[in-house]
């Protein structure tokens, strides 16, 4: 547990230092024997707030399962896929490399998206819900007319999304324009445009709200703005438009 809180990532080489060494000097790792190679795998980032800190907007129960079960599962599966990919590349097994792509996209995307999501949320007593000012505030007014219009658009697109996915406030690094995008399943925002940077993402998979809001996704979307971390969005915006 301590490892996870100290390190954002860990290397496979580090873990393997505890693995027994064979006669030829190679290390046993799990069921396969292979030479130690530095493979950076993902690990679960800690939330910057307690599970219950976003109540009553998002329940502690949801936050705990969302973080410890869903996000952790994406990470576990992503790491498995990465190890398999590493082995396939080393062997030159193109067929296996291709076959792993969907697992990497699903699970890697899940990890990428949720890592951003935890930063997009903030307890109200720590600034969650406070509207954006200065640069991002003006950009929103320019691109959408007003903050209310942006929120309405994101809520409409989020509610209309069929199945599972995300709704994003995106910045185009090239044109510096803001836009609202949706992605299906765990597709990261870049799948909608290579120059798109996520400022805010709202998870509209049912697991993000069902225990509390049941089938009324629009209610979840209406409420979630009270815990949106506009400060983070502003920081990303300022960095990309500097």
């Amino acid at each position: 547990m301590a490892f996870r809180t100290l390190l954002a990532k860990k290397t496979l080489a580090l873990a393997s230092s505890f693995a027994p060494v064979s006669a030829s000097g190679d290390r046993w790792l799990g069921a396969s024997l292979h030479r130690v190679r530095t493979l950076t795998v993902a690990s679960l980032p800690d939330l910057p707030y307690d599970y219950g800190a976003l109540e009553p907007i998002i329940s502690g129960e949801i936050m705990k399962i969302h973080h410890q079960k869903h996000h952790q599962t994406y990470i576990t599966n992503y790491n498995n896929a990465l190890e398999k990919l590493d082995a396939a590349i080393a062997k030159g097994d193109a067929s296996a490399v291709v076959q792993l792509q969907s697992a990497i996209k699903f699970n890697g995307g899940g990890h990428v998206n949720h890592t951003i999501f935890w930063q997009n949320l903030k307890p109200t007593n720590e600034g969650g819900g406070e509207p954006p000012h200065s640069t991002l505030g003006w950009a929103i007014d320019t691109n959408f007319g007003s903050l209310e219009a942006l929120i309405q658009k994101m809520n409409a697109e989020g509610a209309a999304l069929q199945g599972s996915g995300w709704v994003w406030l995106a910045l185009d690094k090239g044109s510096k324009k803001l836009s609202v995008e949706t992605t299906a399943n765990q597709d990261p925002l870049v799948t909608k445009g290579a120059t798109l940077v996520p400022l805010l993402g709202i998870d509209v998979w049912e697991h993000a709200y069902y225990l509390q809001y049941k089938n009324v996704r629009p209610d979840y979307l209406k409420s979630v703005w009270k815990v949106i971390n506009w400060k983070y969005a502003s920081e990303v915006y300022d960095k990309e438009t500097a």
């Binding site: 599962t73 199945g163 599972s164 089938n215």
Partner: protein
């Protein structure tokens, strides 16, 4: 155990349609009032005098809301059937009201709105209404156990064993990423490729398959005959199993599935496949006959160069 079928207010089979929105004089539609007016959903709005239409209704569940406890709780059924399924019925009715899809059967609406892979807005609702009807009928209190008869015979023929089929089914269900469904289906179709002919067609070409589909898609669009479905949208299991989809699917096959219904569906599917095959053989025979007539006519042609001088 009490058996009250607590049904939420369901729609009558027939009700007057809501009048179409007013037609602007500039839309051109007022000139076409005797012909169908194209709508954005791809249907054709019928003239105002076609007022009484059949509306689809939310079919009551074949069991009461707490009969599937503890495997599927009352709360889940209330939300899943009473919330999600109902909403699709309402949205579908709204979208097809007054169009030429109005009054058609659900399967016809589903296939029409699938629009050969370019689905129209009504598709997701039509498909989800069909899928959920199918799903509720696939399960029953004290379900599970083993199939028998022809169904078991085909399962063992096509999968090796019942357990292997269940394994495949569960795998499909847990690897359907995002929302969707897992299916057991009977595949008895031929590809629509003009000159590809199976020289030795036999019943053995038809087989059981396990497959998965995203969101609202179902195997009818591939012309398969669905036999069993499990809903793996998160709303189907989240209240009872949280993120543990695999546990839900295990309970589904062990405690809920009605193999009698699956067997019945297989019987119908096989009959339909046999009927289709008979029809196609008749058509092929007819074609053969006309072709040989043509050949004979050619041989009889007097102006043809032949040995007879």
């Amino acid at each position: 155990m009490q058996h009250q079928v607590t049904s939420f207010a369901s729609y009558g089979a027939f009700r007057t349609s809501t009048p179409p929105p007013p037609i602007s004089p500039f839309s051109g539609a007022w000139r076409n009032k005797t012909r169908g007016i194209k709508t954005e959903t791809g249907g054709t709005r019928l003239p105002r005098h076609a007022a009484i239409v059949a509306q689809l209704e939310l079919k009551p569940l074949p069991y009461s809301l707490d009969c599937l406890e503890p495997h599927m709780t009352r709360q889940t059924l209330e939300l899943h059937w009473g919330g999600h399924h109902r909403a699709h019925v309402v949205r579908l009715n709204n979208l097809i009201a007054g169009t030429d899809l109005d009054g058609k059967g659900l399967e016809d609406i589903l296939l029409a709105t699938y629009n050969k892979g370019n689905p129209l807005p009504a598709f997701v609702h039509a498909a989800q209404v069909w899928n959920h009807d199918f799903f509720w009928q696939s399960i029953k209190p004290n379900g599970g156990g083993h199939p028998s008869g022809k169904l078991m015979e085909l399962i063992e023929r096509d999968f090796g064993s019942f357990d292997t089929m269940l394994e495949n089914f569960k795998q499909a269900a847990v690897t359907q990423f995002g929302s969707g469904w897992a299916w057991l289906a009977y595949k008895a179709n031929k590809l629509d490729v003009g000159n590809a002919v199976n020289p030795c067609p036999s019943e053995k070409d038809n087989r059981l398959v396990v497959l998965k589909s995203p969101n609202a898609i179902n195997p009818l669009i591939w012309n398969y005959a669905p036999l069993l479905a499990v809903d793996v949208w998160e709303h189907a299991y989240y209240l009872d199993y949280e993120n543990r989809r695999a546990d839900f699917v295990s309970v589904f096959v062990e405690k809920l599935v009605s193999w009698e219904v699956v067997s019945h569906r297989l019987r119908i599917a096989m009959e339909q496949a046999a009927e289709r095959a008979r029809k196609e053989t008749r058509e092929d025979d007819d074609e053969e006959a006309t072709r040989s007539d043509a050949v004979e006519m050619y041989l009889d042609n007097e102006s043809d160069d032949s040995e007879t001088e």
